[in-house]
């Protein structure tokens, strides 16, 4: 499986070489000027995202830092033990859609406590790898182009995350055993 890692590592250098070379020698694009033109848009786009992301991350931060999240975790605990969902991994399900850095830190804490090759380690690896930070992606992508009303996008994102978590749980249990 080492080679898969290599592909991923080589991908970006390959793109950085291939795109300008192809453009310059096969299409006679003035590459440096072209780069400059495109990259000019980067800064205003990043600035445009700031207010949206501040709004979202303030709410996420209040939710996490005040212990409100802990309260909801405790609330759901009886239900989870009823369906034999591994309790220790549940904070990730709540954290993953709202905070990328927070969920990664949680995965690290599981690795530290149980090791990456334990059942829990594999489970949180799969959960983290198969989902994305829905609220962040929504805020950044829609914020960058000034979309205010997101229609049904949040629902789809959160339900897909949920599907990813349940699927991870079942798959990891089947593949690696509990």
């Amino acid at each position: 499986m080492e080679w898969i890692n290599w592909i991923s590592k080589l991908m970006i250098p390959a793109l950085i070489v291939f795109i300008p070379l192809y453009a310059a020698y096969l299409r006679t694009v003035p590459v440096y000027e072209s780069f400059g033109e495109g990259s000019e848009e980067g800064f205003p786009t990043a600035v445009q995202i700031i207010p949206h992301l501040v709004g979202m991350m303030v709410a996420v931060s209040i939710f996490r830092e005040t212990g409100a999240m802990q309260f909801y975790l405790k609330l759901f605990q009886p239900l989870l033990s009823l369906i034999h969902f591994p309790e220790e991994s549940f904070p990730l399900a709540l954290l993953r859609p709202i905070s990328g850095a927070g969920s990664l830190a949680f995965v690290e804490s599981i690795f530290r406590a149980h090791g990456p090759d334990s059942y829990l380690g594999r489970l949180v690896s799969t959960m983290q790898g198969s989902t994305d930070t829905t609220l962040y992606v929504l805020t950044v992508y829609f914020g960058a182009v000034g979309i205010r009303r997101s229609l049904y996008a949040v629902k789809v994102g959160l339900l897909a995350d949920m599907a990813g978590f349940v699927a991870s749980w079942l798959i990891v249990t089947m593949v690696f055993g509990s």
């Binding site: 991923s8 690795f111 992606v137 992508y141 229609l151 990813g164 798959i171």
Partner: protein
């Protein structure tokens, strides 16, 4: 719905702080949240500037068009409202490919470029178009062939086989992406029906 989630996170946070008799936690959390958000955007500047420059070269060289032509049937199925020759298609495909190979850094600028192109087709610039929702669904479901971040983290913590979760992750992400696409379709048809009435 995002309004409800937002309000609910703030409200339950304030209630939790009040119950503990520590209302100051709210102020602190709000300020750290705002600071973190700005820091994330500052971090995004370099990535956006660099990749948007590269993407412009790729576009000027006709590479994005080529990519779009290569995978046209798949995107036409997912984005029936986007004209097949529209530049949005090339960006959408490069965004999906970057996600697939675990190039999170490159995927975001490409996704934003795709959104900008979709915005040009959008009759109401304040409301997301169905095509935008589909693109978002593909991105929030986290479809990836190689979960690079997680593999790196497993290595750091001394895993005997850091890449062993690739198979299980691939299967799980296929399921979550499939659910995302199906739900998106379902909500989309409901949306069109409600607008037709």
């Amino acid at each position: 719905m995002v309004n409800h989630i937002w309000l609910w996170m703030i409200l339950s946070g304030v209630v939790a702080a009040v119950v503990q008799g520590r209302v100051d936690l709210v102020t602190q959390a709000a300020l750290t949240g705002a600071k973190e958000a700005v820091a994330v955007c500052i971090g995004l500047i370099s990535i956006l500037v660099f990749w948007m420059g590269m993407m412009r070269i790729a576009q000027d060289a006709g590479l994005l068009e080529k990519l779009a032509r290569l995978l046209r049937p798949a995107v036409r199925f997912l984005f029936p409202s986007v004209p097949p020759d529209h530049p949005a298609m090339g960006y959408i495909l490069s965004n999906i490919s970057a996600n697939m190979f675990g190039l999170g850094n490159a995927a975001t600028p490409m996704g934003i470029k795709a959104m900008e192109e979709l915005q040009k087709l959008n009759p109401d610039p304040k409301t997301a178009s169905p095509a935008m929702c589909t693109l978002l669904a593909l991105n929030t479901s986290g479809f990836t062939l190689i979960p690079t971040t997680i593999i790196g983290l497993r290595m750091k913590y001394g895993s005997a086989d850091p890449a062993e979760i690739i198979g299980s992750t691939l299967l799980a992400t296929m399921i979550s992406s499939l659910v995302a696409i199906l739900l998106d379709r379902w909500f989309r048809s409901r949306y069109f029906r409600s607008r037709a009435e």
